[in-house]
Symmetry: C2
Subunit: 312 residues, 2 copies
C-alpha cells in the first residue's frame, strides 16, 4: 500500500483517504480518465472499475491510466450472470466470464466481483413481468445449483490467472432478476468448496445491511480468508421508480455504517472501501462534487470505525 | 373444520376451497360484510381480517357476520409496531397490542399477526427519507432487542386470552420502515423463549420466497409447533411506485408456489391458506372478480401441493 499523507483542504477535511476507493459506477457519466483524475485529485487511494468503462478505454491503457495516477484497482465489476439453463446460454456465460478474468489479470486486480444472475426467464432487468414463464423458470433452488456448477467450471481458469471470483449477495429485492444469492451466508456456503484465494465474497452495505445474520457472516468471511471487498452505499426511502437506482450517499439513509464497518474491521479486513452508488441525481451532479461527498461520507462514518483495532 | 363439498361452477372449477381464505386486505374497498359474503359465495372456508374493518363493524358484530356465513377467521391483522425507544411510545404500543389481543379473542381466532415495526425514526411508512435522524435511530440491533422485550411483555396477556402472537418476517425491502424481522429464521429465534402456543410465525410467500434458508425455516417452524399461518401472494416486477403495493395474484410473478407449499405441507401445516395482496389495480377490480381469481390461483398452484402427504 502506498504511503499517503493527510491532505488538508480536501474532502473529509484532512482525513486519510488512502483506503477510500471510487467505484466508477458512482460517476457514471465520467470516462475512465475523468473518474481516475477526480479520485486522484481528491486523495483517494483506489478506484473500482466497471468493465464497460475499461473496454471503451482498452484494458492495457486503463491499467496504465490508473497506475500513472498512483492509484490501485480495488476491484473489477463484474462477472457473473450464471443462471442460464440452456447449453448456448451456459457457453456464452463461461466465455464472457473468462474474458472478465483475463481483464482483471491485465488490470492487476485480484478481485473480480460476480453478480450471479436471477431466474433465467426474468431476462433483462427491468423487462417487466414475465408472460411466457413455465414452472421451471421459477425454480430458485435449481438456479442456485447452476450458479454453483458454473463457479466450479470457472475456478481453475481464475486460479491460473491469479484472479479471485468475488461473490456478491444482492438485496432480496433483486432475487428475481439479478442475483439468486441474497445473503452473505449463502455466498459463503457457495464459496466453501474452493480455496479462499480463488473464491471470496464482498460486503455491500446496500445489499446486506438488513440481514440479522450479518455480523456472524462478516466474521465468518474474515475467519475463512474470503473477505475480498467492502462496498458502501446507503439505503434510502422512498425507493426510486427503478429500484436499482434507489441508493444514497453514505449517511443519507438507514444504514448503520459505524457498526457494520466495525464488524468488517474486526474480521480483519484491511483492503480498500469502495463507494458504489447507483442514483440518477448523483449521476447528474458534477464529478468533483460527487467525489467530495464520497470522501466526506467515508471520513465521517466509515474511517473512524475502520481503524478501531489499531486504536484499541 | 366444517365439512365442505366440491362446488362446481365456482372459482377453481370445482376445487375444494375449504382451506382457502380471503384476507380482507385483498378487497380493500369492501366492507367486512361484503368481503365475507364474496368469500362465502365463492366457497372459501375462511377470511383473514384486518382490525380497521373489524373496528368499523364492531368486534362482536364482525364475529357474528363471519360465523353466520359459516366461515372461520383464519387470522387477525395486525398487532406489532414494537420498536419505539421512548416510554410513551412503548406504553402506547403495549396498550394497542393488548386491545388487538382482546379483539382476536372476541373474534375467536387464535392467530394475531404481528408486523413488528421498523427503525423508530422512520415514522410513518412512506414518510420519505429521514432528515433528523441521529445515529441511534439506525441501530438495527437495538431495535430488534426492543422487539424481543415487548414480545416478552405481551406474552402473559396473550396467553391469558388464548391468543397467539404470530411473528411475520417482512421482505428486507421493508426493514427500515415496517419490520426489523426479515427472515423466518430470525422470527423463530425471537419466538424460541416462549411456548409455541403463545408465540408462532406466519409464512408469507411475498416476503420470504427469496430466502435461501426458507426450506429449513419452514421445517423448523413445523417441528417446533409454531407454524401458525400460510399467506400467499406473488412477487411481481417491475416494482410499483409504492413498493408496499407491488404484489400480484398467485401465478402472476416469480414465486415457486408448488415448491414452497410442499415445504409448508411437509412441515405439517393443516390450517387455512390466506391470499393477502396489496395492489391498487386489484383493489380497483370488482370484488367477485378478485375473489374468483384468488380461488383460481389457490386451486391451480397451491392446493395440489398442499395435499401431497395425504396422497403419498
Amino acid at each position: 500500500m502506498s504511503a499517503r499523507t493527510t491532505l488538508p483542504n480536501r474532502p473529509g477535511e484532512g482525513a486519510d483517504l488512502a483506503r477510500c476507493s471510487l467505484n466508477t459506477a458512482t460517476v457514471k457519466r465520467a470516462t475512465l480518465p475523468e473518474a481516475v483524475d477526480a479520485a486522484a485529485r481528491a486523495g483517494f487511494g483506489a478506484v473500482g472499475l466497471w468493465r464497460d468503462r475499461v473496454q471503451e478505454t482498452g484494458v492495457q491503457r486503463a491499467a496504465s491510466i490508473v497506475a500513472d495516477a498512483g492509484l490501485r484497482v480495488s476491484s473489477l465489476c463484474r462477472g457473473g450472470f450464471l443462471t442460464a439453463a440452456d447449453d448456448a446460454g451456459i457457453a456464452s456465460a463461461l466465455d464472457d466470464n473468462r474474458r472478465a478474468i483475463e481483464e482483471s489479470a491485465t488490470l492487476g486486480t485480484h478481485e473480480l466481483v460476480f453478480v450471479v444472475g436471477g431466474l433465467p426467464a426474468s431476462g433483462v432487468p427491468g423487462a417487466g413481468p414475465r408472460t411466457d414463464a413455465g414452472p421451471g423458470d421459477r425454480d430458485l433452488v435449481a438456479a442456485r445449483g447452476r450458479v454453483a456448477d458454473r463457479i466450479a467450471d470457472l475456478v481453475p481458469f481464475a486460479a491460473d490467472h491469479g484472479v479471485r471470483i468475488v461473490l456478491e449477495a444482492l438485496h432480496p429485492i433483486f432475487a428475481a432478476d439479478r442475483a439468486v444469492i441474497s445473503t452473505l451466508g449463502q455466498a459463503l456456503d457457495l464459496a466453501a468448496p474452493f480455496h479462499p484465494g480463488t473464491v471470496g465474497v464482498v460486503v455491500d452495505t446496500y445489499h446486506v445491511w438488513w440481514d440479522p445474520a450479518l455480523r456472524e457472516g462478516i466474521a465468518r468471511a474474515g475467519a475463512e480468508g474470503r473477505l475480498a471487498g467492502y462496498q458502501v452505499c446507503d439505503w434510502s426511502l422512498p425507493l426510486a421508480d427503478d429500484a436499482l437506482l434507489s441508493r444514497g450517499h453514505v449517511g443519507d439513509g438507514y444504514v448503520d455504517f459505524p457498526t457494520i464497518t466495525r464488524w468488517v474491521a474486526d474480521a480483519g479486513y484491511r483492503g480498500d472501501v469502495e463507494t458504489e452508488i447507483f442514483n440518477q441525481s448523483i449521476w447528474d451532479a458534477p464529478f468533483d462534487e460527487t467525489v467530495a461527498r464520497v470522501g466526506e461520507g467515508y471520513a465521517r462514518l466509515v474511517l473512524p470505525s475502520l481503524d478501531t483495532r489499531d486504536d484499541g
